[in-house]
């Protein structure tokens, strides 16, 4: 573009009289590698405008829809989970077979027998407690010992 033209445009620009198209022309002229030396100071101005046109808003905007919407879906999900539980839970609730019952009973019986036999061993060894009873009886003679002492203090 002719330099003369650019100078005229710049004058119009600074008076606020340029059209958008003319301003576009100025921007493209000053985005060139080399511009007339005496117009050098305009370069960063138009470059700044061009750079700033591109800045973007990148943050999310949390647009809230109605709350009830969420609750409906949560309840639907809960019902689905429940049905799932009923459907797939049922095989585990079936009665065990007779064999299994017998086996469980035998195991239980064995265990109980073991417990009872050990318990018996335990009680037999508690027998010595009887002899302890005898011991306490024989300590009674101490009472008799008390008698003479009492006599002395009389």
């Amino acid at each position: 573009m002719v330099l003369n033209n650019i100078e005229k445009l710049l004058e119009k620009y600074e008076n606020g009289e340029t059209t958008l198209l003319e301003e576009q022309q100025l921007k493209s002229y000053f985005s060139q590698e080399t511009v007339a030396p005496h117009l050098e100071m305009y370069k960063p101005i138009f470059a700044y405008f061009l750079v700033n046109e591109k800045e973007q808003f990148t943050k999310d905007v949390p647009l809230k829809t109605k709350r009830t919407f969420n609750y409906t879906w949560i309840s639907v999900a809960a019902v689905a989970v429940l049905f799932f539980g009923f459907y797939f839970g049922s095989p585990f609730l079936q009665e065990p077979s007779k064999e299994e019952q017998q086996m469980a009973f035998n195991q239980f019986k064995e265990a109980m027998q073991m417990v009872s036999s050990n318990l018996n061993k335990g009680t037999s060894s508690i027998g010595y407690l009887e002899s302890m009873g005898k011991g306490t009886e024989s300590v009674n003679y101490l009472d008799e010992l008390n008698n003479p002492i009492q006599r002395i203090f009389k």
Binding site: L20, P44, E53, Q56, T65
Partner: protein
Amino acid sequence: MTQPQIMTQTEFLHIVMPFKDKVFRLAKRLLVSREEAEDATQEVLLKLWNNKAKMSEYKNVEAFSMTMTKNFCLDKLKSKQAQNLKIVHSNYQDHTVSVQKQVELNDSLDWVGRIIEDLPEQQKMVIQLRDIEQYDYDEIAKMLDMNPTAIRVALSRARKTIREKLTNTHSYGIK
């Protein structure tokens, strides 16, 4: 709120998509900090979403949103200024750039940004809406509630100031 939905999220996003970046950039021009501009944009978009029932009544949703953004940010700045009167030390942003920082600021694009930052709010907005977003004067007039002549005057002042300051700070034109 129990009424059936008038507009779905997708429909809403479809309307908002084309200008959400413009809302953000205007907010950033005024509030400077990126985070605050993001918050402001969220706020504006949420307000739109909450009033989506009325959205069909607006003739121009985009212009309406830009006006909303402008008002929101100017309110924010006002309350900030009020706070700064109480807390003297936290002068918002760095209008007084330290000497060391000035040295670092070799990038002339940064300088342009800084010069615009120092402009009065109205000029900032006019520059943003015209030179960056390329709206025509009628649209800007609607958004900022100004008449087109006032817009031209503000724009002319802003453009001249930017060029002059840039010439001063950066030895341009000395050659």
